[in-house]
């Protein structure tokens, strides 16, 4: 990597535990989440949502609601005459759903926004919302991906030929020939329907101020949100400001610009008053993005000892109604891109379909297609090993990529430039076997228990093209660094912070890159008026791509600091070092010029600048990883990410034979995200990711009945508590990428992607005597109990 990505002369913060600057506010109740904001004269909305899964709207009666004291207005889609549908930038290869802030003519899921009550407060708005009457001509509901694939299935969008929003069927003749000539092993896997469930639901507050629209919202991208609003509302982008204050967790769910964001904006502009929406949890269950709900069919040509020669895969994702922006078919493509796992499988062809059903629209969620792939591939390998009678670890060893194989381009086009696939597996096998022996010793003689150990080894694309998040073909990030005359530093960037520690890494890297005390660095993010255009939070990208932009900007500032200091100190630039806010000749701390003196010279004593040096001490940079691709080649191959992290997971479990409950005795992980910036923050991401992965594996499931009625309330959607979450053992490997700034890879999603596979394999091991079919999640006690003969 170029020098412009180097840290400064004497880095002291990167790699250490820098505590987070926002924690003092968050710990004393002084955080400012969107729901905490109030404005004088503020009104609030309540949304009238569809009660049927699929139907034509034949009448909406709003008079009674409008007559309630304190109601300002009740609107339906018919009122939004100057609002445009959300665009579809992927229309070259997808069907276009009718995505509009309020349902037009038809509803396609329970929870779909049909009308909005604007009132003096939320209590009144909810009272009135109950008085809005909507008549529906109900239509048959499509409630599963299998149904959606049926040729005679009811269609959500009548003008489409079928329910397939995405349907990529690549030429599979080469793989078909290999399958025809070899022994073939087939399995089908499914992953249940999950949602991110951030503890803060969605919220938005819009205001017209100085003739412009100001929107405070929980979105993960200030600038993309602004651009999207400009597509939908009749407002120029220059007249929109989007601010994202403290956010109570995003996890991908807050990547979408939801109808309510548009509706409060439209109403604020129309009425000239601030308008707030604070989603309640009951709404969140049906109106915020769902995720997963994938099916993976794998056919593999195998040798007699189980090695995979070639794979043909069909991935199908259940999108729900797909009425969401940006559209959310990209997890299916991500699943497809991870179907070889970190194995040397040269021939793999994946057909990918994303289908519409009468359920809440699917969207982004941490892991974004990778947990599905890892579950399918790693369960497949365990089942394959059992089928041919070889050891499951040995089978992995025979196919796993070795360090000497790198760089390696997978069959789908991903460029694995570094990693520790074999090492991480060996580490967790070592730890896992020890833990398993302990479990055997403790529970082996208990007739009411079975113990098992399961493994998963994986790679995970990080820092992807934004196509999957916004349908834009871009992958850059921005950073602007400005040193003030007093030597304090203001950093702004397009990255955003939902709690993952973004603000802290920006401060940490800036301080090291400039050689200044971290206390002098002020970070400002997520205000589209105050920060350079960036793409924000998705795909575990911010430290990689935002970090790259930051280092580029810092490098420019550092160069200027040294040229001014060289003049002041009458010393050659190349002899100077910057540390702790002072510039001096290496090895001799005095004389020194302080950053404040240098910045003062650059900004308000330009009379002292050396000849040829321009005034000012600031730089703005953008970084787009060179190797990241946005469009597949003619064979469908693409390297969609700047980098690829890897991990191996091991789970040791005890199954209660009476109840089917899985108790996790040990959870062991070897993780490699390249260079680590802040160890506790990296561990925190892994812990949180594992908790979400375990939740989806064991407890969480969004169910619908045959009518498309949601059956899962918040109380039934079992987010793991401290009682369910095991202690983790985390081993770190650091294989820096040669192709990213500082060798950093992303860590935001790594923990989430492995648990389903590791737990599934552990369960298969524990219950091997019963030959259980473990091909779906969740693995709830009822499901597990049914695998055990009475």
């Amino acid at each position: 990597m170029a020098d412009s990505f180097a840290l400064g002369d004497r880095p002291v913060y990167v790699g250490s535990h820098v505590t987070r600057s926002q924690d003092d506010a968050l710990l004393t109740g002084a955080g400012t989440y969107v729901g905490d904001l109030r404005r004088d004269g503020m009104a609030e909305i309540a949304v009238v949502r569809s009660t049927v899964a699929h139907g034509r709207i034949t009448a909406i009666r709003t008079d009674a609601a409008a007559a309630v004291d304190g109601v300002i207005e009740v609107i339906t889609a018919a009122d939004l005459t100057d609002v445009s549908p959300y665009p579809n930038f992927a229309s070259a290869y997808t069907q276009t759903p009718d995505t509009f802030p309020l349902a037009r003519h038809k509803v396609r899921y329970v929870g779909s926004p049909v009308a909005v009550v604007l009132a003096e407060d939320r209590y009144i708005a909810e009272d009135a919302a109950e008085l809005v009457e909507v008549d529906y001509e109900e239509l048959p509901a499509v409630t599963s991906l299998e149904e959606a694939l049926e040729p005679d299935s009811p269609r959500l969008f009548e003008h489409w030929p079928n329910n397939r929003l995405l349907d990529l069927q690549p030429d599979d003749s080469e793989v078909a020939a290999i399958l025809a000539d070899n022994r073939v092993f087939r399995r089908r896997y499914k992953m249940g329907r999950h949602t991110a469930m951030p503890m803060e639901a969605r919220a938005a507050l819009a205001e017209r101020r100085d003739g412009r629209l100001h929107l405070w919202c929980t979105n993960q991208h200030a600038h993309i949100a602004r651009t999207t609003l400009s597509y939908v509302l009749p407002v120029a982008e220059r007249d929109i400001r989007v601010v994202i204050p403290h956010v109570g967790g995003g996890f991908g769910l807050k990547q979408h610009l939801y109808p309510e964001d548009v509706l409060v904006s439209w109403l604020a502009l129309r009425h000239g008053r601030a308008v707030r929406f604070v989603e309640d949890r009951a709404e969140h269950m049906i109106a915020a993005a769902h995720a997963r709900d994938h099916m993976m069919d794998i056919e593999a040509a195998i040798t007699d000892d189980g090695r995979i020669l070639a794979m043909r895969v069909q991935v199908v994702q259940d999108l729900g109604s797909a009425e969401i922006f940006p559209g959310a078919w990209c997890p299916a493509l991500t699943t497809a891109a991870h179907m070889t796992g970190p194995y040397d499988i040269r021939d793999c062809v994946v057909a990918t379909a994303a289908v519409t059903t009468n359920k809440t629209p699917g969207g982004s969620y941490r892991g974004f297609g990778v947990p599905e792939a890892v579950f399918a591939v790693e369960r497949f390998i365990d089942e394959l090993a059992a089928e041919v009678g070889v050891d499951r670890i040995d089978l992995r060893r025979s196919m796993l990529l070795q360090t000497s194989d790198l760089p390696y381009t997978t069959a789908s086009g991903a460029l694995l430039d570094s990693g520790s696939f074999a090492e991480s597996l060996e580490k967790v096998v070592d730890l896992g076997e020890q833990a398993y022996r302990r479990a055997e010793a403790e529970h082996g003689t208990d007739p009411d228990s079975r113990v098992g150990v399961g493994y998963a080894v994986l790679f995970e694309g990080v820092s992807p093209t934004h196509h999957g998040a916004s349908a834009h073909w871009a992958g850059h990030e921005s950073c602007s660094i400005e040193v003030q005359p007093d030597g304090s530093v203001r950093v702004t960037s397009g990255v955003t912070d939902q709690g993952q520690g973004t603000t802290t890494f920006v401060a940490t890297m800036t301080a090291d890159a400039l050689g200044v005390p971290i206390e002098t660095v002020h970070v400002e993010l997520a205000d589209s008026d105050a920060t350079p255009y960036g793409l924000g939070a998705f795909g575990s990208r911010q430290a990689v791509v935002g970090g790259g932009a930051l280092l580029m900007a810092a490098s420019e500032v550092r160069t200027k600091i040294k040229s001014i200091a060289a003049h002041m100190l009458e010393a050659p630039e190349e002899d100077l070092v910057i540390e702790a806010g002072r510039v001096h000749v290496a090895g001799s701390p005095t004389p020194a010029a302080t950053i404040a003196e240098i910045a003062t010279t650059a900004v308000i004593r330009t009379i002292d600048l050396p000849p040829g040096v321009d005034p000012g001490l600031e730089a703005t940079a953008r970084y787009e990883p060179e190797l990241m691709e946005h469009v597949p080649d003619a064979r469908g191959r693409i390297n969609p990410c700047a980098s690829y992290a890897n991990a191996a997971h091991a789970a040791v479990i005890r199954v209660d034979m009476g109840t089917g409950e899985i108790e996790i005795l040990d959870y062991l992980l070897a993780h490699d995200c390249g260079r680590v910036i802040n160890p506790p923050i990296v561990d925190g991401q892994i812990w949180g990711g594992i908790a979400q992965g375990l939740g989806g594996t064991l407890y969480e499931d969004l169910c619908f009945n045959d009518l498309g009625q949601p059956q899962t309330a918040f109380m039934d959607y079992l987010v793991p508590s401290a009682m369910e979450m095991p202690d983790l053992v985390i081993e770190h490997f650091e294989s820096p990428s040669p192709n990213t700034p500082l060798g950093i890879k992303g860590v935001g999603e790594g923990g989430t992607v492995g648990p389903a596979a590791a737990i599934g394999n552990a369960l298969a091991h524990a219950l091997a005597e019963f030959d259980p079919q473990i091909r779906e999640t969740p693995l709830s006690p009822a499901v597990v109990r049914a695998m055990i003969p009475d």
Partner: protein
């Protein structure tokens, strides 16, 4: 039936209350149907009490009501007449108290939305009744966190309660 009807209060009726919040007496009237969480957040502007589910499940809105941890999202403001409430804003007179500092030092929070609920629950708990790490897990089992996987929170409580890693 008639007795019940006689006691019925219209939801919009204003009810007088006197309540001590973070040491200060508040005498006011509230709508009979106003949730305690909304009263604290919207009327008193103590927005550190967060509403995560409005169903009494997630624990984010937990406050200290006369020494007990209480979900302020499923209680009416009218019910706290005569009570004493502590919210996260009242947890420490100045800066961070020891528990808050332990959360910061141990990366016991990420997004911070659930954090006030954890702090308030823990502030009402007698550590001796929750021995060992298992006790800590039990003490916080009524509060959901989606970010941390509880690892940092458990470490923070161990630190605050001066408790070794295993036990």
């Amino acid at each position: 039936m008639s007795a019940a009807n006689a006691r019925r209060v219209e939801p919009s009726v204003e009810v007088p209350i006197s309540v001590t919040v973070n040491g200060e007496t508040v005498e006011t009237t509230v709508a009979a149907r106003q949730l305690l969480a909304d009263f604290l957040r919207e009327e008193l502007r103590l927005t550190g009490t967060h509403v995560g589910c409005e169903q009494g499940i997630c624990g984010a809105c937990t406050i200290n009501l006369d020494g007990e941890p209480v979900r302020s999202c499923i209680m009416l403001a009218a019910q706290v007449d005569g009570s004493s409430i502590i919210t996260v804003e009242g947890l420490s007179a100045q800066g961070l108290g020891p528990l808050q500092q332990a959360f910061k030092d141990n990366h016991g929070l990420q997004c911070g939305f659930c954090t006030p609920g954890f702090l308030m629950t823990l502030s009402t708990v007698d550590p001796d009744e929750y021995p060992g790490t298992a006790g800590i897990r039990e003490a916080i089992s009524g509060n959901l966190c989606r970010c941390t996987g509880y690892g940092g929170i458990i470490r923070a409580v161990r630190t605050a309660w001066d408790r070794p890693d295993h036990g």
